[in-house]
Symmetry: C2
Subunit: 140 residues, 2 copies
């Protein structure tokens, strides 16, 4: 079974590398919890120092993310090289649209480019409390 | 701004199409909630009827998913066609490793192939309570 492949290696990535990957990519997923039920939404993000910034409309994310614990994740698997990795950010979200705290300023300094249609006038920032990442390489 | 592009269209996908996409793909993300904090993990999944099946080791997912509300998500964006979509499944997870209920049988009938290394002797099934999907197309 592939799952017990002894030739594959799994390693933890240092935080600096996780931040670099977050900065290099622009499509991740944010999870919010609504009445105990997690929900996952793809979002286009951008980094501003350690803050993850994305824009949104007046929907589920805006209603439930600010002030709550959220998760942000990016991952990739390249079948040609056999390398897979994922980065997970745990933290609290902030409605940064009009606030003047440091996180809000940082959020609005980022330049996320939403690909999905619809007006997205609100800015959400995620201040990380924990950043973790893993990488594996499948040997040929 | 791209976010307000009037030429992009967003549409809800019917459940049948969501299930088809879930069946055609093998890499998604599962979100579990631990002390109010959502966490997102990439997993290789397979479908068995409406059940989402994946395998795992003795870690966070096995400790916190079974018996709890979880979320499973897949998404894709093709920059050459400008088409993006995502499917979200909300439901309750079941440790299907040794149980004899219908969900567990269905889970073990699926054939997920974990790409990540490490022993994954446990089977988790997700019985959907809600399946939703969205697609957008950016016009050229």
């Amino acid at each position: 079974m592939k799952s017990t492949d002894p030739d594959a290696e799994l390693e933890e990535m240092p935080e600096a590398e996780c931040l670099e990957l977050l900065d290099q990519h622009s499509l991740g997923r944010v999870a919010v919890v609504i009445d105990g039920q997690p929900q996952i939404f793809p979002v286009n993000h951008a980094m501003s120092d350690r803050i993850i910034a994305f824009r949104t409309g007046s929907g589920t994310k805006l209603s439930h993310a600010p002030g709550s614990k959220v998760c942000f994740e990016i991952d990739e698997y390249d079948s040609s090289t056999g390398v897979g990795w994922s980065v997970m950010v745990q933290g609290v979200a902030v409605d940064a649209t009009e606030s003047f705290d440091d996180v809000s300023w940082a959020t609005r300094a980022a330049a996320p480019w939403p690909l999905a249609p619809g007006k997205k006038p609100f800015w959400i920032g995620i201040e990380p409390s924990k950043i973790t990442g893993r990488r594996f390489r499948r040997k040929a």
